[in-house]
Symmetry: C2
Subunit: 185 residues, 2 copies
Protein backbone atom coordinates (compact mmCIF):
# COMPACT_ATOMS: atom_id res chain seq x y z
CA UNK A 1 0.00 0.00 0.00
CA UNK A 2 2.58 2.49 1.08
CA UNK A 3 4.56 1.58 -1.96
CA UNK A 4 1.85 2.72 -4.34
CA UNK A 5 1.57 6.12 -2.76
CA UNK A 6 4.92 7.31 -3.94
CA UNK A 7 3.84 9.54 -6.79
CA UNK A 8 3.39 13.16 -5.85
CA UNK A 9 0.55 15.37 -6.94
CA UNK A 10 -0.77 13.85 -10.10
CA UNK A 11 -3.62 15.13 -12.33
CA UNK A 12 -5.89 13.37 -9.90
CA UNK A 13 -7.80 11.01 -12.16
CA UNK A 14 -9.81 13.09 -14.56
CA UNK A 15 -13.21 11.87 -13.51
CA UNK A 16 -14.92 10.93 -16.73
CA UNK A 17 -17.95 10.54 -14.56
CA UNK A 18 -19.91 13.67 -15.30
CA UNK A 19 -21.70 13.75 -18.64
CA UNK A 20 -21.78 17.04 -20.54
CA UNK A 21 -25.45 16.85 -21.41
CA UNK A 22 -26.60 20.17 -22.76
CA UNK A 23 -25.74 22.40 -19.84
CA UNK A 24 -23.20 25.23 -19.95
CA UNK A 25 -19.61 24.08 -20.00
CA UNK A 26 -18.63 25.92 -16.87
CA UNK A 27 -21.48 24.39 -14.93
CA UNK A 28 -20.39 20.98 -16.05
CA UNK A 29 -16.85 21.82 -15.01
CA UNK A 30 -18.09 22.87 -11.61
CA UNK A 31 -20.01 19.66 -11.18
CA UNK A 32 -17.07 17.62 -12.31
CA UNK A 33 -14.81 19.30 -9.79
CA UNK A 34 -17.30 18.70 -7.02
CA UNK A 35 -17.76 15.07 -7.93
CA UNK A 36 -14.03 14.76 -8.04
CA UNK A 37 -13.69 16.20 -4.61
CA UNK A 38 -16.08 13.75 -3.07
CA UNK A 39 -14.84 10.77 -4.99
CA UNK A 40 -11.40 11.51 -3.65
CA UNK A 41 -12.55 11.86 -0.10
CA UNK A 42 -14.68 8.77 -0.35
CA UNK A 43 -11.79 6.72 -1.53
CA UNK A 44 -10.13 7.48 1.75
CA UNK A 45 -13.08 6.18 3.68
CA UNK A 46 -13.69 3.19 1.48
CA UNK A 47 -16.93 4.40 0.01
CA UNK A 48 -17.72 3.28 -3.54
CA UNK A 49 -17.04 5.75 -6.28
CA UNK A 50 -20.53 5.77 -7.66
CA UNK A 51 -22.00 6.65 -4.31
CA UNK A 52 -19.59 9.50 -3.86
CA UNK A 53 -20.33 10.71 -7.36
CA UNK A 54 -24.04 10.80 -6.67
CA UNK A 55 -23.50 12.76 -3.52
CA UNK A 56 -21.20 15.11 -5.39
CA UNK A 57 -23.65 15.82 -8.17
CA UNK A 58 -26.45 16.45 -5.72
CA UNK A 59 -24.23 18.64 -3.62
CA UNK A 60 -23.18 20.62 -6.67
CA UNK A 61 -26.72 21.48 -7.64
CA UNK A 62 -28.29 24.58 -6.16
CA UNK A 63 -31.69 23.00 -6.70
CA UNK A 64 -32.86 19.50 -5.73
CA UNK A 65 -32.34 16.85 -8.36
CA UNK A 66 -34.60 14.05 -9.47
CA UNK A 67 -33.56 10.48 -10.01
CA UNK A 68 -33.60 11.14 -13.73
CA UNK A 69 -31.45 14.22 -13.35
CA UNK A 70 -28.83 12.30 -11.51
CA UNK A 71 -28.90 9.49 -13.97
CA UNK A 72 -28.52 11.84 -16.91
CA UNK A 73 -25.64 13.81 -15.45
CA UNK A 74 -23.52 10.91 -14.32
CA UNK A 75 -22.14 8.15 -16.41
CA UNK A 76 -23.38 5.37 -14.20
CA UNK A 77 -26.17 2.88 -14.59
CA UNK A 78 -29.68 3.25 -13.33
CA UNK A 79 -29.11 0.37 -10.97
CA UNK A 80 -26.15 2.10 -9.39
CA UNK A 81 -28.08 5.31 -9.02
CA UNK A 82 -30.85 3.45 -7.26
CA UNK A 83 -28.52 1.63 -4.91
CA UNK A 84 -26.37 4.64 -4.32
CA UNK A 85 -29.31 6.82 -3.47
CA UNK A 86 -30.62 4.23 -1.11
CA UNK A 87 -27.34 4.11 0.72
CA UNK A 88 -27.11 7.87 0.91
CA UNK A 89 -30.64 8.12 2.21
CA UNK A 90 -30.08 5.45 4.83
CA UNK A 91 -27.00 7.22 6.03
CA UNK A 92 -28.71 10.56 6.04
CA UNK A 93 -26.44 12.11 3.46
CA UNK A 94 -29.28 13.16 1.19
CA UNK A 95 -32.91 13.77 1.90
CA UNK A 96 -35.95 13.82 -0.31
CA UNK A 97 -37.90 16.97 -0.66
CA UNK A 98 -41.27 16.05 -2.03
CA UNK A 99 -41.71 17.84 -5.29
CA UNK A 100 -44.72 19.92 -6.25
CA UNK A 101 -47.19 17.07 -6.09
CA UNK A 102 -47.41 14.16 -8.46
CA UNK A 103 -43.93 14.47 -9.88
CA UNK A 104 -41.01 12.33 -8.84
CA UNK A 105 -39.10 12.74 -5.61
CA UNK A 106 -36.31 15.26 -5.55
CA UNK A 107 -33.07 14.92 -3.64
CA UNK A 108 -30.90 17.46 -1.96
CA UNK A 109 -27.86 17.05 0.25
CA UNK A 110 -28.49 16.80 3.92
CA UNK A 111 -25.55 18.90 4.82
CA UNK A 112 -25.16 17.58 8.31
CA UNK A 113 -21.58 16.60 7.92
CA UNK A 114 -21.46 16.11 11.63
CA UNK A 115 -23.88 13.25 11.45
CA UNK A 116 -22.06 11.64 8.61
CA UNK A 117 -18.77 11.77 10.40
CA UNK A 118 -20.24 10.58 13.63
CA UNK A 119 -21.95 7.71 11.99
CA UNK A 120 -18.78 6.74 10.25
CA UNK A 121 -16.73 6.89 13.38
CA UNK A 122 -19.26 4.97 15.33
CA UNK A 123 -19.69 2.23 12.82
CA UNK A 124 -16.11 1.58 11.96
CA UNK A 125 -13.89 2.66 14.76
CA UNK A 126 -16.06 2.01 17.72
CA UNK A 127 -17.03 -1.39 16.50
CA UNK A 128 -13.43 -2.35 15.95
CA UNK A 129 -12.37 -0.94 19.27
CA UNK A 130 -15.02 -2.92 21.06
CA UNK A 131 -14.14 -6.22 19.52
CA UNK A 132 -10.50 -5.37 20.06
CA UNK A 133 -11.10 -4.92 23.73
CA UNK A 134 -12.41 -8.43 24.02
CA UNK A 135 -9.55 -9.89 22.07
CA UNK A 136 -7.00 -8.16 24.22
CA UNK A 137 -8.47 -9.73 27.27
CA UNK A 138 -8.28 -13.16 25.71
CA UNK A 139 -4.71 -12.51 24.70
CA UNK A 140 -3.69 -11.46 28.17
CA UNK A 141 -4.87 -14.82 29.43
CA UNK A 142 -3.31 -16.70 26.58
CA UNK A 143 0.12 -15.36 27.50
CA UNK A 144 0.06 -17.73 30.44
CA UNK A 145 0.98 -20.49 28.06
CA UNK A 146 4.56 -19.25 27.89
CA UNK A 147 7.55 -19.64 30.15
CA UNK A 148 8.05 -16.84 32.69
CA UNK A 149 10.74 -14.97 30.81
CA UNK A 150 8.86 -15.00 27.55
CA UNK A 151 5.67 -14.23 29.34
CA UNK A 152 7.16 -11.01 30.56
CA UNK A 153 8.03 -9.88 27.07
CA UNK A 154 4.60 -10.68 25.79
CA UNK A 155 2.85 -9.02 28.66
CA UNK A 156 4.81 -5.91 28.07
CA UNK A 157 3.79 -5.87 24.45
CA UNK A 158 0.21 -6.50 25.29
CA UNK A 159 0.29 -3.68 27.77
CA UNK A 160 1.54 -1.39 25.09
CA UNK A 161 -1.20 -2.52 22.81
CA UNK A 162 -3.75 -1.85 25.50
CA UNK A 163 -2.46 1.59 26.15
CA UNK A 164 -2.65 2.49 22.55
CA UNK A 165 -6.08 1.04 22.41
CA UNK A 166 -7.23 3.08 25.37
CA UNK A 167 -5.80 6.27 24.04
CA UNK A 168 -7.60 5.79 20.80
CA UNK A 169 -10.82 5.22 22.64
CA UNK A 170 -10.25 8.35 24.62
CA UNK A 171 -9.60 10.28 21.47
CA UNK A 172 -12.91 9.49 19.87
CA UNK A 173 -15.15 11.70 21.97
CA UNK A 174 -12.65 14.50 21.66
CA UNK A 175 -12.71 14.23 17.92
CA UNK A 176 -16.46 14.18 17.93
CA UNK A 177 -16.91 17.33 19.91
CA UNK A 178 -14.15 18.97 18.01
CA UNK A 179 -15.69 18.31 14.67
CA UNK A 180 -18.95 19.57 15.99
CA UNK A 181 -17.56 23.02 16.75
CA UNK A 182 -19.30 25.78 14.93
CA UNK A 183 -21.48 23.35 13.07
CA UNK A 184 -23.67 26.07 11.71
CA UNK A 185 -26.48 23.84 10.65
Amino acid sequence: MASSVIHSTLPSTTTALVLPGDRPADVVAFEAAMVDFFVDAAELLGVPKSVAAIYGIVFASPVPLSFADIESRLDISKGSVSQGLRMLREVGAVKEVSAASDKAELFEPDVEMRKLIERFIEQRLQRQLESGKGKLKVLAQGAAAYAPAEQKVLQQRLKKLSRWHDRTRALLPIAKTFLKLGAGS
Copy 2:
Protein backbone atom coordinates in the same frame (compact mmCIF):
# COMPACT_ATOMS: atom_id res chain seq x y z
CA MET B 1 -12.33 -19.64 18.30
CA ALA B 2 -15.07 -21.08 20.37
CA SER B 3 -16.32 -17.60 21.04
CA SER B 4 -20.03 -17.80 20.56
CA VAL B 5 -20.44 -14.44 22.15
CA ILE B 6 -23.33 -12.07 22.05
CA HIS B 7 -22.77 -9.93 19.00
CA SER B 8 -25.02 -10.78 16.13
CA THR B 9 -23.25 -8.91 13.39
CA LEU B 10 -19.72 -10.21 13.48
CA PRO B 11 -18.84 -13.65 12.22
CA SER B 12 -15.39 -12.85 13.60
CA THR B 13 -13.71 -14.49 10.63
CA THR B 14 -12.06 -17.55 12.07
CA THR B 15 -8.63 -16.85 10.75
CA ALA B 16 -7.52 -20.07 9.15
CA LEU B 17 -4.28 -18.22 8.72
CA VAL B 18 -2.13 -19.69 11.44
CA LEU B 19 -0.84 -23.18 10.83
CA PRO B 20 -0.67 -25.58 13.78
CA GLY B 21 2.79 -26.86 13.00
CA ASP B 22 4.11 -28.86 15.92
CA ARG B 23 3.94 -26.23 18.63
CA PRO B 24 1.74 -26.47 21.71
CA ALA B 25 -1.92 -25.91 21.06
CA ASP B 26 -2.24 -22.99 23.42
CA VAL B 27 0.66 -21.20 21.83
CA VAL B 28 -0.94 -21.62 18.46
CA ALA B 29 -4.17 -20.30 19.89
CA PHE B 30 -2.37 -17.30 21.25
CA GLU B 31 -0.78 -16.60 17.91
CA ALA B 32 -4.05 -17.05 16.14
CA ALA B 33 -5.73 -14.56 18.42
CA MET B 34 -2.97 -12.06 17.90
CA VAL B 35 -3.03 -12.43 14.15
CA ASP B 36 -6.75 -12.02 14.31
CA PHE B 37 -6.44 -8.85 16.27
CA PHE B 38 -4.14 -7.25 13.76
CA VAL B 39 -5.96 -8.52 10.73
CA ASP B 40 -9.08 -6.90 12.08
CA ALA B 41 -7.40 -3.61 12.79
CA ALA B 42 -5.69 -3.64 9.43
CA GLU B 43 -8.94 -4.11 7.65
CA LEU B 44 -10.02 -0.82 9.06
CA LEU B 45 -6.99 0.91 7.67
CA GLY B 46 -7.04 -0.83 4.33
CA VAL B 47 -3.91 -2.85 4.92
CA PRO B 48 -3.74 -6.26 3.21
CA LYS B 49 -4.55 -9.23 5.34
CA SER B 50 -1.31 -11.04 4.71
CA VAL B 51 0.72 -8.08 5.86
CA ALA B 52 -1.27 -7.78 9.03
CA ALA B 53 -0.91 -11.49 9.63
CA ILE B 54 2.84 -11.29 9.34
CA TYR B 55 2.98 -8.46 11.77
CA GLY B 56 0.70 -10.36 14.11
CA ILE B 57 2.80 -13.50 14.12
CA VAL B 58 5.97 -11.55 14.72
CA PHE B 59 4.32 -9.55 17.44
CA ALA B 60 3.09 -12.72 19.09
CA SER B 61 6.51 -14.25 19.35
CA PRO B 62 8.61 -13.46 22.39
CA VAL B 63 11.71 -14.17 20.33
CA PRO B 64 12.60 -12.82 16.89
CA LEU B 65 11.42 -14.92 13.97
CA SER B 66 13.18 -15.84 10.79
CA PHE B 67 11.69 -15.70 7.33
CA ALA B 68 11.29 -19.46 7.45
CA ASP B 69 9.56 -19.30 10.82
CA ILE B 70 7.03 -16.86 9.52
CA GLU B 71 6.45 -18.85 6.41
CA SER B 72 5.90 -22.04 8.34
CA ARG B 73 3.50 -20.55 10.85
CA LEU B 74 1.27 -18.74 8.44
CA ASP B 75 -0.70 -20.19 5.61
CA ILE B 76 0.51 -17.73 3.01
CA SER B 77 2.91 -18.07 0.15
CA LYS B 78 6.59 -17.34 0.23
CA GLY B 79 6.04 -14.49 -2.18
CA SER B 80 3.57 -12.86 0.13
CA VAL B 81 5.87 -13.22 3.08
CA SER B 82 8.64 -11.56 1.16
CA GLN B 83 6.50 -8.68 0.00
CA GLY B 84 4.79 -8.30 3.30
CA LEU B 85 8.05 -8.20 5.20
CA ARG B 86 9.39 -5.64 2.82
CA MET B 87 6.41 -3.40 3.38
CA LEU B 88 6.62 -3.79 7.12
CA ARG B 89 10.31 -2.99 7.10
CA GLU B 90 9.83 0.06 4.93
CA VAL B 91 7.17 1.34 7.21
CA GLY B 92 9.22 0.62 10.28
CA ALA B 93 6.80 -1.87 11.73
CA VAL B 94 9.37 -4.60 12.08
CA LYS B 95 13.11 -4.46 12.31
CA GLU B 96 15.80 -7.00 11.66
CA VAL B 97 18.01 -8.07 14.48
CA SER B 98 21.06 -9.71 13.01
CA ALA B 99 21.22 -13.24 14.29
CA ALA B 100 24.26 -14.84 15.86
CA SER B 101 26.40 -14.52 12.79
CA ASP B 102 26.00 -16.43 9.57
CA LYS B 103 22.41 -17.46 10.08
CA ALA B 104 19.44 -15.78 8.50
CA GLU B 105 18.05 -12.43 9.54
CA LEU B 106 15.55 -12.41 12.34
CA PHE B 107 12.60 -10.08 12.66
CA GLU B 108 10.98 -8.56 15.65
CA PRO B 109 8.26 -5.96 15.93
CA ASP B 110 9.38 -2.40 16.13
CA VAL B 111 6.80 -1.48 18.64
CA GLU B 112 6.74 2.20 17.90
CA MET B 113 3.04 2.39 17.34
CA ARG B 114 3.36 6.10 17.39
CA LYS B 115 5.42 6.11 14.26
CA LEU B 116 3.08 3.78 12.50
CA ILE B 117 0.09 5.90 13.27
CA GLU B 118 1.84 9.08 12.37
CA ARG B 119 3.00 7.71 9.12
CA PHE B 120 -0.44 6.52 8.31
CA ILE B 121 -2.05 9.80 9.13
CA GLU B 122 0.49 11.73 7.21
CA GLN B 123 0.28 9.66 4.10
CA ARG B 124 -3.42 9.30 3.79
CA LEU B 125 -5.16 12.13 5.51
CA GLN B 126 -2.72 14.89 5.03
CA ARG B 127 -2.29 14.14 1.39
CA GLN B 128 -6.00 14.11 0.81
CA LEU B 129 -6.51 17.25 2.79
CA GLU B 130 -3.89 19.05 0.78
CA SER B 131 -5.35 18.17 -2.56
CA GLY B 132 -8.75 18.95 -1.19
CA LYS B 133 -7.66 22.41 -0.30
CA GLY B 134 -6.75 23.10 -3.88
CA LYS B 135 -9.98 21.72 -5.19
CA LEU B 136 -12.02 23.83 -2.85
CA LYS B 137 -10.35 26.92 -4.16
CA VAL B 138 -11.17 25.95 -7.72
CA LEU B 139 -14.73 25.23 -6.73
CA ALA B 140 -15.16 28.59 -5.07
CA GLN B 141 -14.25 30.24 -8.34
CA GLY B 142 -16.38 27.91 -10.38
CA ALA B 143 -19.47 28.97 -8.49
CA ALA B 144 -19.32 32.21 -10.39
CA ALA B 145 -20.87 30.42 -13.32
CA TYR B 146 -24.25 30.45 -11.64
CA ALA B 147 -26.97 33.06 -11.27
CA PRO B 148 -26.78 35.17 -8.09
CA ALA B 149 -29.44 33.32 -6.14
CA GLU B 150 -28.02 29.93 -6.92
CA GLN B 151 -24.57 31.20 -6.35
CA LYS B 152 -25.47 32.05 -2.83
CA VAL B 153 -26.65 28.56 -2.08
CA LEU B 154 -23.54 27.04 -3.51
CA GLN B 155 -21.24 29.41 -1.74
CA GLN B 156 -22.86 28.55 1.51
CA ARG B 157 -22.33 24.89 0.91
CA LEU B 158 -18.77 25.42 -0.09
CA LYS B 159 -18.17 27.42 3.00
CA LYS B 160 -19.49 24.59 5.08
CA LEU B 161 -17.23 22.20 3.27
CA SER B 162 -14.29 24.45 3.94
CA ARG B 163 -15.06 24.71 7.57
CA TRP B 164 -15.26 21.00 7.95
CA HIS B 165 -12.06 20.73 6.02
CA ASP B 166 -10.30 23.19 8.27
CA ARG B 167 -11.51 21.56 11.41
CA THR B 168 -10.23 18.24 10.27
CA ARG B 169 -6.88 19.77 9.52
CA ALA B 170 -6.81 21.31 12.93
CA LEU B 171 -7.66 18.00 14.49
CA LEU B 172 -4.70 16.18 13.06
CA PRO B 173 -1.97 17.67 15.22
CA ILE B 174 -4.15 17.24 18.24
CA ALA B 175 -4.63 13.60 17.49
CA LYS B 176 -0.93 13.19 16.95
CA THR B 177 0.12 14.63 20.25
CA PHE B 178 -2.65 12.85 21.97
CA LEU B 179 -1.67 9.46 20.69
CA LYS B 180 1.86 10.22 21.69
CA LEU B 181 0.96 10.64 25.37
CA GLY B 182 2.69 8.21 27.65
CA ALA B 183 4.35 6.47 24.75
CA GLY B 184 6.67 4.61 27.05
CA SER B 185 8.97 3.40 24.34
